[in-house]
Symmetry: C2
């Protein structure tokens, strides 16, 4: 009986995060202010602690993980690396399929990997409260958990339609002691403005971000926390890939292809960046970001400076974007409905070091159900995108006869997403692909900055 799960001891939790900037062929393009000039950390100190801003700007290859963060990581980390032998059999592929399982965290996804250090550095800076936004609830619940670990109050602005439709993510946040408000609220100017425009608005992630940022900017004891996109967030997630590398080393294997789903980019960065270090050193490994065809940022977006939020409050970032006013259809992988992408991921794609594929919704659920029936775990809809891309690679191996080693990130379980499986089984889900002219139409609406 060969092992299904490759485990590491708690003492083997990596001691440093990996900063991919150190291995990029070109330095990352800086964020720009409304004046077109690079934005320094001083502009951001009102809502982020200096320690995180330093990480955001750092070019150091290794950033030490504080002991207190490693201690909290130890509640669920190292996460298992699993061999999907039963899935291989079902597919009849000569490929070996491995997955790193991040659903073992208390919040059920990879998000606490960055929520915990963000809470830690904020507490260290004397901050008492974190304000943040959440759509489907994955990030908000991770921040609620992390805040509880470091005695911080957490205030979550949850998009109203999700607040009403996903009450159990809300109860999860409340169980961890967070305050959760249906956004827009009357507590902020941004919220009041939104309600004045439309008293019955279902809310949006853009409005919720504006509320959380406004609250953080207006209160000295309160900071803001973001769950993806930014460099320091992507870096915290590298704990995933660093562990996976140790686990492969333990069994004397190395992946030919590394796959993760990609919305804001933190999940993909987390698994893939540590392997990119090897690739930069000459190793032959493909790094594949899987996104939905209904929000095809990396595969069909424009590489341009754009705002990170819908309202244009953030600095401009050079990234693949569908336009900050892009509204993707209501696919069930809420974590992948983002108009832009991590600037680091975008630049690496632009420079040809990583690849991107887009997969349609129905095929992702087909893959997720196939995975659940073979491997037991019911995946989050976001993770189903990685599974689909991995299954497609495995089927290509069946056709070619190549016994490749495939690795994907099972970023979370689907326990709070069963309604989307219901809709899949009931035949109520659809595929969606934008006509080219709609993608093109975003171009003239992008902010005018020389890229």
């Amino acid at each position: 009986m060969t092992a299904t799960r490759i485990l590491l001891d708690e003492s083997e939790i990596p001691t440093h995060w990996y900063n991919v900037v150190a291995d990029m062929p070109n330095p990352p393009a800086p964020p720009l202010g409304p004046d077109g000039q690079p934005v320094g950390p001083d502009k951001m100190l009102a809502i982020f602690p200096m320690a995180l801003l330093e990480q955001e700007m750092s070019a150091e290859r290794w950033i030490p993980i504080p002991d207190k963060v490693r201690e909290i990581y130890g509640m669920w980390r190292p996460s298992p690396l699993c061999r999907a032998k039963r899935l291989e059999e079902v597919l009849g592929t000569p490929a070996k399929i491995y997955y790193k399982y991040e659903g073992v965290s208390p919040a059920g996804s990879h998000k606490p990997n960055t929520a915990v250090p963000q809470a830690y550095y904020n507490q260290l800076a004397g901050i008492k409260r974190i304000s943040t936004e959440t759509g489907a609830g994955q990030w908000g619940s991770s921040m609620a958990f992390a805040g509880q670990m470091f005695g911080l109050e957490v205030r979550v602005f949850m998009v109203k339609v999700s607040y009403d439709q996903k009450p159990f993510r809300r109860s999860m946040m409340q169980t961890w002691g967070a305050e959760v408000f249906a956004s827009p609220t009357t507590m902020t100017q941004a919220g009041r403005d939104a309600l004045a425009r439309d008293p019955n608005t279902p809310g949006s992630l853009g409005i919720a971000i504006s509320e959380a940022v406004e609250e953080a900017a207006s209160r000295a004891d309160t900071n803001y926390a973001l769950g993806s996109v930014l460099n320091h967030v992507c870096m915290h997630q590298t704990i995933v890939g660093l562990e996976a590398k140790k686990q492969f080393e333990k069994i004397g294997e190395y992946p030919d292809v590394v796959i993760a789903c990609c919305g804001g980019g933190s999940n993909f960065s987390g698994l893939a960046f540590p392997f990119l270090a090897d690739k930069a050193a000459g190793k032959n490994v493909r790094l594949v970001a899987a996104e939905p065809t209904s929000c095809p940022t990396l595969t069909r977006g424009h590489y341009a400076y754009d705002f990170g939020d819908a309202s244009g409050y953030t600095p401009l970032m050079l990234m693949y974007t569908l336009g900050h006013d892009f509204v993707p259809p209501g696919i069930h992988a809420g974590g992948l409905r983002y108009h832009g992408d991590s600037p680091l991921v975008s630049q690496l794609l632009k420079e040809g070091l990583i690849e991107a594929v887009a997969v349609p919704q129905l095929a992702t659920f087909e893959a997720g159900v196939m995975f659940a029936r073979a491997e037991g775990i019911i995946p989050a809809p976001e993770s189903n995108h990685a599974i689909r891309a991995c299954i497609d690679e495995a089927l290509a191996c069946r056709a070619s006869g190549e016994p490749k080693t495939l690795l994907f990130n099972l970023s979370g379980h689907g326990h709070f997403d069963m309604a989307s499986y219901d809709r899949y089984f009931a035949g109520e889900l659809e595929d969606f692909e934008y006509p080219e002219h709609e993608i093109e139409a975003a171009l003239p609406r992008l902010p005018k900055v020389a890229a």
Copy 2:
């Protein structure tokens, strides 16, 4: 940094289940038929495979675990033994608190530990389909998962009120390929009778059991599976306690008190019986079953022969019972709403080898929220009973200054039970305790058999 989680390798999964019958001071009282005579395995062959009936009657101390079962166990086992250091700090107790975490299984509880071997032995016997019942859905989803692992069709009769109120447990079963029907159905005589009596009946576990048994008894390709109470079910769960003992050995500790919640008894048996082997050999260890005050079978029930189901279809079993027609109030720990208890657990309690405590609902949720805020994991309402009893032991240690080592079974996560947490936070849950005369009133209604 000392370890939070004590892990074992997949190769350390126990090779045998432990049969407590071998260490009981007296042989277990046999189940009786309507004629008052012991029921032999021949009567049960219509719905159970011989291998399981042999285990049900066995007095062998060690029963080998088939390789194929160990292989499936390896998808999540060995489960972690965790030190609840943050909870100890919150309580200010000198006690060391450990918990065995069974929520890591695909279905999210300890139930797959027996669903998997039950599926295996049925497949081995040439059975194609399993019929079973489920209330809240924990058992049904575990059986759906296990059936999928061995290529068995699974048909689940789900109590109608749960089918309507807990759609996500249903979707989970469907994701694993099971057929789920709201019980009562028109597919069985038992169901049709129930509907004739009341076309708008919300259903009951008693009716659902009758439907599942009827289906199994009337079809040669179909067997029945039960998730608790029976000896072989309790035995399969001993994998939990056997692993825990190995894990304690690894860190050179041994528990003074072992605690688990108790409904039908399989969860308690699983953790406690392997420690009872040591107790029988003279070791000083307390084994505590925690049940709800609203269904106080072990603490206030009658030790008598009674039916296992509400309708009186099963053999008579000698156990603590509140009467097979007992209807407990709708507490949220659905897995603990059983009128009787495992005959093995009952006999061991009667003979003074184990203890039982009853804990009120509100105090269990208070304990569960305290645990979630300290340790991250949101527990199932059933598990909250064990946590409550453990916290009470830890507080007693604070008062006495004794640095005891406490172990409890965190039998499952609460991801599908957040509605009950919502009701707790909203102040909508209540405590309930039966007046003594209501407990006494059950006595004359028990079947007349010399115990």
